[in-house]
Amino acid sequence: MDFKKIPGSWYFLLIVILSYLFLFIFHPEIYHSCLEFFAKIISEILPIFVLIFVLMVITNLLFDSKFISKHIQKEKGIGKWIFVVMGGILSTGPIYMWYPLLANLKEKGLSQGLIATFLYNRAIKLPFLPLMIFYFGVKYVLVLGLVMIFLSVIQGKIINKFMEVKK
């Protein structure tokens, strides 16, 4: 078995489980109390993960990198900013998957500010919103989302200014 192929996150879980084993041996009362609390949280959030999975499938089905890159290049003016915001929100997968595409778009003339705005909006993950709503409520999630979108554009504009100085 090639241990190098096992993702680090499984080692993380293993270390935590070993800590629990240690607790079970030396402090069984704390172990039971922690496990009870763990079961309570998991039973609360598990149904939300079904919804998260459905939303992830829908997002993966409807929006891929080709679709987003095609439209980012096509849009102009304010439309470009709006599409970059939407593209960031709808983009899926780990960030490093997007770096080559963004580098390519930069070569094709996409400003660094627009790239920064795209990256900032990747923080808003539609499929994960059910868990956020569960903890913080709909009103909070809506306000936070709108504030982040607004500031992402400001960040993009500031970055454009900074990068212009170099030229």
Partner: protein
């Protein structure tokens, strides 16, 4: 709709969620341990209810943390339940997802060192601003 596209989306989503399982379970186990071992009075001492200081600390901790946003919601949500202020928790979850210290070398290589540094520094400051603005707006509506 293309059947193979649906299957591919199901596999991609299933794989992404499955890869999060050890992190989510590990984090919830750690949170449970933390909450049972550390009394709320300890972390309530760190957060002083000073808007700027709390958001700064929240943003700092969020910036050096890495992982799926789901983990940050879990930690943030449980901290909030434990009595930590909304501003600190908001700065923490925003910095978690917008500042990428771990990805900084890769981002610098592909998009440029200056760009990566300015973007991450701005994201750190913006996490504080987002937290303050969000809580102010929530208080006003």
């Amino acid at each position: 709709m293309n059947k193979s596209k649906i299957v591919s989306a199901l596999i991609k989503s299933g794989r992404a969620l499955f890869n999060s399982v050890p992190l989510i379970f590990g984090t919830v186990l750690l949170i449970s341990l933390f909450i049972k071992l550390v009394p709320p009075s300890f972390y309530l001492k760190i957060f002083t209810n000073n808007v700027l200081f709390d958001s700064f600390i929240g943003s700092l901790v969020g910036s050096v943390s890495a992982g799926t946003p789901l983990t940050s919601y879990l930690i943030g949500g449980e901290l909030l339940k434990g009595g930590v202020g909304l501003i600190a928790v908001t700065a923490f979850i925003v910095a978690w997802v917008t500042v990428g210290i771990v990805q900084l070398p890769a981002e610098s290589m592909v998009l440029g060192k200056k760009f990566a540094l300015i973007r991450n520094l701005l994201s750190f400051i913006f996490a504080i601003i987002v937290a303050i603005l969000t809580v102010l707006i929530l208080g006003a509506i």
